[in-house]
């Protein structure tokens, strides 16, 4: 199939690429180097490829790349870095919620979407929200615990209103190409969060 130009905004950065119309968002993101987006089944069964599309968690294998044009795409690596992890990422690291790590990026994306809409979820709500993300290592108990801890961390810093994706996005909309370090999207990161508004 003939490639056509597509513009994708990923983690605050703009990519102009030429893609065949049947290219999935998963394939496009991985080809662009966003390898934190994992390919586990390519048919929407496992959730390893979950990303935020305008704040909504979707399986990127079920979205065609061109359908994501104009949307703000956020992957797990757009939430934080080793130097400056997102509270959800810290919570996952500290609770034993990560074993092999292959489901982790999708889990954290699903958690971000959940907590953005529901800052104090019950255990049932957490389990329901993550039920599209398979994990074969943990039995989910420590992942549920990680989400609880993350919710607590985020609530403690919630005096800042800047944890929503849309607001964070508008803060970084000045220009076509952003430095890779400029990944502030959706960061509800503790003391820093207030600066985003």
């Amino acid at each position: 199939m003939e490639a056509r130009p597509v513009t994708l905004r990923v983690n605050g950065r703009t990519h102009d690429v030429a893609l065949a119309p049947n290219t999935t968002l998963l394939e496009a993101l991985r080809d662009l180097g966003y390898t934190d987006v994992k390919s586990g089944c390519e048919k929407g069964d496992c959730g390893a490829c979950a990303v935020l599309l305008d704040g909504v968690a979707v399986n990127s294998c079920l979205v065609l790349a061109w359908q994501a044009e104009g949307a703000e795409i956020v992957t797990n690596s757009g939430l934080g870095t080793i130097e400056k992890p997102h509270p959800i990422q810290e919570a996952f690291a500290d609770t034993g919620a990560i074993q092999c790590g292959f489901c982790t990026s999708g889990m954290i994306v699903a958690t971000k979407a959940l907590l953005d809409g529901n800052p104090d979820p019950t255990e049932d709500e957490i389990r329901e929200a993550l039920s599209g993300n398979l994990c074969r290592c943990t039995g989910y108990g420590q992942i549920v615990e990680a989400v609880r801890v993350a919710a607590e961390l985020l609530r403690r810093s919630s005096s800042s209103p800047a944890s929503s994706l849309a607001e964070a996005t508008s803060a970084s909309e000045d220009g076509r190409e952003h430095d890779h370090e400029d990944r502030v999207l959706g960061s509800g990161d503790g003391a820093e969060a207030g600066d985003d508004t």
């Binding site: 586990g40 034993g96 329901e128 994990c135 039995g139 989910y140 549920v144």
Partner: protein, 778 residues
């Protein structure tokens, strides 16, 4: 089994530790949390080609003609290889150099099928092309003509004279005979003999990361293979398949996105090595989910028959056990899996008179090989369901009946191997049951049942494999610590545990330790991340290396501070006088002094497991494993007699781990293993019909989701009696073993009838409800 008060634990004095035992953030956790960890499928290289595998769609057929010229002619296709091009190359998984044993009699899987195919999914040809799409297009241009051969899909039928034969002379892949004590006398002494048969299904590992790798030929002509594997030592198998010296193959393992035994076999390595050598270009191969299901090993289905003699007081006098396992089309690790099931056939019970006869036979189905527990879980589904059936026949409480038969330290398994460490079966069982709390009452269509399973599982490899591991530990001049160890990290915290051990011994915080792992060429070979052996084997190697470095540091510090060596301790990156912590030298300063004076700041250590000879060929008596881990799971289920649904209400898992190295990681192993066991009991079956897979993806093959089961209550006991570092036992595989039989027993408790075949699907439950009604039990 309603109200159980556990007795106090035997008194154990564990030395106080500073780093070991704590739920510290694993060294690999943050990289994974932020998506920075790079897995095998994430690597790309300049001029890289993409590979695909052409596979059989027949369960058993002769290849009449294979035409690849149209595929080769496609623009963008760099290479097509067939069985002719790799003639004689085998997909052996015998781990040469580890076992020192000859490959099994000629029936190892060929790298590419040449004359015949024996299962759906068997590899026939390899394609490497400029893009994945072109490689797929090339697969479509391969022409093949088959002549179907009669096929066999059941291991018992495969052993009937006249059955289709996969390899001459017959389909028997492996056989064991155990003769302990005097079976006839034991049976004669019995007041009652109970007989039951149990069946277990094929199970898929369902690791989240599909098999993947990238291979290239470097400037020395060495073939490098970056791959998700549990065994970097497969470089030897690759060398043998390609006919090149072992030092011309380098396997660079990656963080593995789950293995559970499946990535213990060679997966993509040999395909990639052939393609990289043939094309001179980097080649990448990533399986689709469907391919990872179709073309990799499964857990062995077993049929297990127990005939047990027992006294009225609950004492078992004799046990006769028969096992039949399905090897699938090729042996892979079947002989060893069958040995594990055989050697653990009688469970954590003292039984003096035992016969076990086990056999594995080839069928035209997906091959079976290693899967977490390695035959142990199937054995447990036999003995633990049988224990409940005997208790029922005796009208005894299942826990009381087990108590009458639990082995003690010094008692022997069915092969006559004496258990040398603590046997805390009763401690685990009573704590797991206690954790369930009050029994939920049955209401309406919901019938409540409780089940217990007490199991044991070996850790460490078979002792006549003469297993070894190596690790290097060094202190840098700023007081930071480096560990080099060939350990593959498959997600269970293998590398973290080694770091935590080094941190403890060298007195530094965990974040001051860095590990380089899983490279067959530059990290000391540590053996396989299988058989629950890495903490035991490589943990002891790290412990030994770190202790040697510590000794030199302490000696130099004692000299510097003018005290005796035994008065010096290391902690918080300092060497200090134990009773006067204010007198200290910073570790960085001490390391600089040692370096300046030529005192070695590093050590390469090797740990050897106990070496034994094989079993007696007549009686099957002898030692098989280094040691065992004992544990128990108790569950409460609600069976809906209208819908056939089973709801897991409560679950508690208790294991004696010897000593926890990272308590959060241990809990994760137990919780995760338990979840896999629950899936095994309640939903998982890799289903084949006439050799064709009918559960080809996660849409059909269901594994537990976050919404299926409540979190298991995890109870960790520490007897301190393991043979790993600091008294640790292994927990990776033992964690899985008890959950499934506990669920099966809970179901039988709820309805009064048993389903003798897993999984406990709604269809089978409804049949059992009808049976219970027929017996007037409902």
């Amino acid at each position: 089994m309603n109200h159980v008060e556990p007795k106090p634990l035997p008194e154990v004095k564990l030395p106080p530790l500073k780093q070991v035992g704590k739920p510290l953030r694993r060294v690999d956790a943050l990289g994974k949390a932020v998506g920075a960890t790079v897995y095998a499928a994430d690597f790309t290289m300049p001029r890289m080609l993409h590979a695909k595998v052409f596979r059989s769609d027949r369960p058993h057929a002769r290849i009449v003609q294979l035409g690849v010229s149209k595929a080769r002619a496609l623009t963008g296709v760099a290479c097509v290889l067939t069985g002719e091009d790799v003639r004689g190359a085998k997909l052996t998984t015998d781990m040469p150099g580890q076992t020192g044993r000859a490959a099994r009699a000629g029936s190892d899987a060929p790298v590419l099928a040449l004359e015949a195919v024996r299962y759906v999914g068997e590899p026939i040809a390899l394609v490497a092309a400029e893009t994945v799409a072109l490689a797929e297009e090339a697969l479509g241009r391969i022409e093949i003509e088959y002549e179907n051969l009669p096929a066999v899909f059941d291991p018992e039928e495969a052993m009937v004279p006249g059955a289709p034969i996969l390899f001459e002379p017959d389909n028997v892949v492996s056989r064991y005979t155990i003769r302990k004590g005097d079976l006839e006398a034991g049976m004669a002494e019995a007041d009652l003999v109970v007989e039951n048969s149990f069946r277990t299904p094929f199970v898929e590992h369902a690791y989240l990361e599909p098999d993947a790798g990238v291979a290239w030929v470097d400037e020395q002509g060495v073939i490098n293979i970056r791959v998700a594997t549990q065994v970097v030592e497969h470089f030897r198998s690759v060398a043998r398949a390609l006919g090149v010296p072992e030092n011309r193959i380098r396997v660079r393992g990656t963080m593995v996105g789950g293995g559970f035994g499946s990535k213990e076999d060679v997966t993509v390595e040999i395909f990639l090595a052939f393609l990289a050598r043939e094309t001179g270009r980097p080649v990448k191969l990533v399986y689709t989910r469907e391919e990872a299901f179709l073309a990799t090993s499964k857990r062995h289905p077993f049929t297990i028959t127990h005939r047990t003699g027992v006294k009225r007081d609950g004492r078992i006098t004799a046990s006769r056990i028969e096992m039949v396992a399905d090897s699938g089309a090729y042996p892979y690790l079947t002989p060893y899996v069958l040995l594990y099931a055989t050697g653990m056939a009688t469970g954590p019970y003292r039984i003096d008179n035992v016969h076990v006869d086990s056999v594995a036979a080839a069928t035209n189905q997906t091959f079976t090989s290693a899967f977490r527990g390695f035959g142990g879980p199937q054995a447990a589904l036999g003995y633990e369901q049988q224990m409940d059936e005997i208790a029922k026949a005796l009208d005894m409480d299942p826990l009381e009946f087990r108590r009458a038969n639990y082995m003690k330290t010094g008692d022997t398994t069915c092969t006559g191997q004496a258990v040398t460490s603590a046997v805390w079966s009763e401690e685990c069982a009573t704590r797991a049951l206690h954790a369930l709390g009050d029994r939920t009452p049955s209401t309406g269509t919901k019938r409540i049942g409780r089940g217990l399973a007490s199991t044991f599982q070996s850790y460490g490899r078979i002792t006549w494999f003469h297993d070894t591991s190596r690790a290097w530990v060094g202190v840098e001049q700023d007081g930071t610590v480096v560990v080099r160890c060939g350990v593959p990290d498959i997600g269970a915290g293998q590398s973290n545990s080694l770091c935590q051990i080094a941190a403890e011994i060298l007195g530094v915080p965990l974040d001051r330790v860095t590990i380089y792992a899983t490279d067959s060429a530059v990290t000391p070979l540590a053996g396989t991340s299988t058989a629950t052996r890495q903490l035991y084997m490589s943990g002891n190697a790290v412990s030994s290396a770190a202790s040697a470095v510590r000794t030199r540091l302490v000696r130099r510090a004692a000299e510097a501070m003018g005290v005796r060596e035994e008065d010096v301790d290391l902690a918080n990156s300092r060497a200090f006088v134990s009773k006067e912590p204010d007198r200290f030298i910073e570790l960085a300063e001490l390391a600089k002094r040692c370096a300046a004076e030529g005192i070695e700041l590093s050590e390469l250590a090797q740990f050897n497991a106990p070496f034994t000879d094989g079993l007696d060929p007549e009686t099957g008596q002898g030692d098989i494993w280094p040691d065992f881990t004992f544990g128990a799971v108790a569950v409460e289920v609600a069976v809906d007699i209208e819908t056939g649904g089973i709801e897991l209400l409560k679950c508690a898992a208790c294991h004696d781990v010897g000593r926890a190295i990272n308590s959060a990681a241990v809990r994760g192993q137990i919780a995760g293993g338990t979840a896999q066991g629950l899936g095994y009991a309640l939903m998982e079956e890799f289903a084949l019909e006439d050799g064709r897979v009918v559960t080809p993806s996660f849409a059909e093959y269901l594994i537990p989701t976050s919404a299926d089961y409540p979190a298991a209550d995890v109870i960790v006991l520490e007897s301190g009696t393991g043979i790993g570092p600091f008294g640790a036992k292994g927990i990776g595989e033992p964690a899985l073993t008890p959950a499934a039989p506990a669920v099966a027993n809970a179901f039988a408790d709820a309805l009064g009838v048993r389903i003798h075949e897993l999984p406990l699907t709604p269809e089978r439950v409804i049949e059992a409800v009808d049976e219970a009604r027929g017996k007037g039990l409902l």
